[in-house]
């Protein structure tokens, strides 16, 4: 099957609508959230119409079917990531998954391998989304651990010149984003993971911007934990994934407490079910989990490798076209070997808000601002940027529309 974004687009009902009085929707904001194919929308509806009941509770047929449905989705996620089924924990989004890790680590008693004491170190980078920055910053404050980070250099890559000085014998946690949601930079993982393991730290990967866009296999990467959000991977809103190595999930204390995560409960004591149940109290976001399973099937059927190649080609085209625009500056690497399909830029003195508004008026949806990575935009010396991010339903015509509108904006605000 050849890869044709215009054919793929037909699977996504939202492209049938018009923007700002009749304009074609040019959706270049998939880095924030992706659009949903009809099969995913239908999967959620079908769950409600035919199988809705509280999974893992009740011995009736609907409850059995609901259980079967979410457990089947769990095994799809496991296969997609190359992990084991009991290593998949469903959350509401990657933000929750990262907070789960930070709080569970914070709950670890003395003697537990995750226990943090004053002076222990947590390593992140200046490139992190707030979701992979603030939870660690606050955990450090609560425990007395020290937050350290890799800096970002002028061309938007991690400064790894002093990797031994950043990840040290005191490091317990290394938590990094696979691909920057602002710069598009993909970090060189293998050396970092190796160094983390050499010093006995666990390696946590924020794969929000990579899992939806390229083949990611947790075993190949040799990481310890990974998070991503369903809504960025053509899945429903309200569902995210934490993957963790079985032996680590076994040792990690629980985060949220409630029904169905227990082994036994008295008024004063509780013991926990094995993972993943231990981390999933309450009636699950069942319809969303089912939808996510179908979303990953959809991506798999098209092929993650093909999707990735498509995005690389598109990004390459976008960067070359954008760079032809006077005063346009790409914030982040321009070498396709170092990056994925999120392209941030500035346009002379035109404020991104104004540019974004102008683009919107032409039917083009981009994101503007600091993209929830404020320390990074500050470091890059810009107050805000305009970001175009691509996915499987984007075509070169979308890039052409973007570049043309950027030029028009220049005239408008001149």
């Amino acid at each position: 099957m050849t890869f044709d974004p215009l054919v793929i687009r037909k699977d996504f009902p939202i492209f049938d609508r018009k923007i700002r009085d009749g304009k074609r929707l040019v959706y270049l904001d998939s880095g924030a959230t992706s659009q949903k194919p009809q099969v995913v929308i239908e999967a959620e509806s079908d769950f409600y119409r035919n199988h809705n009941a509280a999974a893992h509770r009740g011995a009736h047929q609907l409850a059995e079917e609901a259980t079967e449905a979410i457990e089947a989705a769990r095994s799809k996620v496991a296969t997609f990531l190359g992990g084991a089924v009991d290593e998949i924990v469903f959350t509401k989004h990657s933000t929750e998954a990262l907070n789960l890790l930070a709080y569970s680590i914070g709950n670890s008693p003395v003697g537990n391998r995750f226990h943090l004491k004053p002076g222990d170190e947590i390593v992140i980078s200046e490139m992190e989304h707030h979701a992979n920055l603030i939870p660690w910053q606050q955990l450090a404050k609560r425990t007395g651990a020290v937050l350290k980070w890799f800096e970002v250099n002028k061309d938007g890559r991690l400064d790894l010149s002093n990797i031994e000085g950043v990840i040290t014998a005191r490091t317990k946690i290394v938590a990094l984003t696979h691909q920057s949601n602002v710069l598009g930079t993909i970090i060189p993982l293998s050396g970092l993971v190796e160094r983390a393991h050499d010093v006995g730290a666990v390696f946590i990967l924020d794969a929000c911007q990579s899992v939806p866009h390229m083949p990611v296999n947790v075993a190949d990467l040799d990481i310890d934990f990974l998070v991503f959000s369903g809504h960025k991977a053509v899945g429903p809103t309200g569902v995210g994934v934490l993957w963790g190595r079985a032996n680590l999930l076994a040792e990690l204390p629980p985060f949220l407490f409630g029904g169905s995560m227990i082994e036994s409960v008295t008024m004063t004591e509780a013991t926990w079910a094995p993972a993943p149940r231990k981390f999933e109290p309450g009636v699950p976001n069942m319809a969303q989990i089912v939808g996510l399973g179908v979303a990953l099937d959809y991506l798999t059927n098209i092929g993650m490798e093909k999707i990735h190649n498509h995005e690389i080609a598109l990004t390459d085209y976008a960067i070359s076209k954008l760079l032809e625009v006077e005063e346009l500056r790409i914030i982040g690497p321009t070498d396709m070997k170092l990056r994925g399909g999120a392209v941030s830029f500035t346009l002379g003195a035109i404020h991104p808000h104004d540019l974004g508004q102008f683009l919107d008026n032409s039917g083009i949806a981009v994101r503007t601002g600091h993209h929830c990575a404020w320390p990074l935009t500050r470091k890059m010396g810009v107050a805000a940027t305009t970001r175009a991010s691509f996915y499987l339903y984007n075509a070169p015509e979308d890039i052409d529309a973007l570049v043309e509108a950027v030029r028009d904006a220049q005239k408008y605000f001149a």
């Binding site: 011995a59 259980t67 169905s260 036994s264």
Partner: protein, 149 residues
């Protein structure tokens, strides 16, 4: 009635007349297992002599499936070598997890074959396995203990 596949005569018999449901005074290992989703509990005592299961006794509260399953287990495994018992155990667990796709070997499982219908009711598999998991746990403990002695 469809339900009769689940509640076979043998099961209801064992449920109403559970075998070996009185904890023995002596044992090599004693375990307590719980099904957290329903609160069912079982205590199981096990004695192993020279690699042979010589006594299994139990007590507990639970549904007909869990009660019958452990009752059947005690009749089936006493007198078997630990190796034979593990072979039967594996066969039984595989049957339970088969979602009704395998029939199970009556020569291996004897009366326990009556529990085959459970595999089509996912929520009940844990009930059927409660006593078996307790047995497995107890056997590991008993063997560890005999090694120490």
């Amino acid at each position: 009635m469809q339900l009769d596949n689940l509640y076979q005569e043998v099961i209801l018999d064992h449920y109403k007349h559970p075998q070996n449901k009185k904890l023995s005074a002596t044992f090599d290992a004693q375990v307590h297992h719980v099904n957290p989703s329903c609160g069912d509990e079982i205590d199981l005592n096990l004695t192993i002599a020279d690699g042979v299961v010589t006594n299994i006794s139990w007590d507990g509260v639970g549904c007909s499936i869990s009660q019958a399953s452990v009752s059947i287990l005690t009749e089936l495994l006493v007198g078997k070598t630990v190796t034979e018992a593990y072979f039967i155990f594996d066969h039984f667990v595989a049957l339970m997890q088969s979602k009704g796709t395998v029939a199970g070997d009556e020569n291996v499982l004897e009366d326990a074959i009556a529990l085959a219908g459970v595999s089509k009711y996912p929520a009940r598999i844990k009930c059927a396995l409660l006593g078996w998991m307790a047995f497995k746990d107890a056997s590991v403990q008993a063997q560890a203990k005999s090694k120490l002695e």
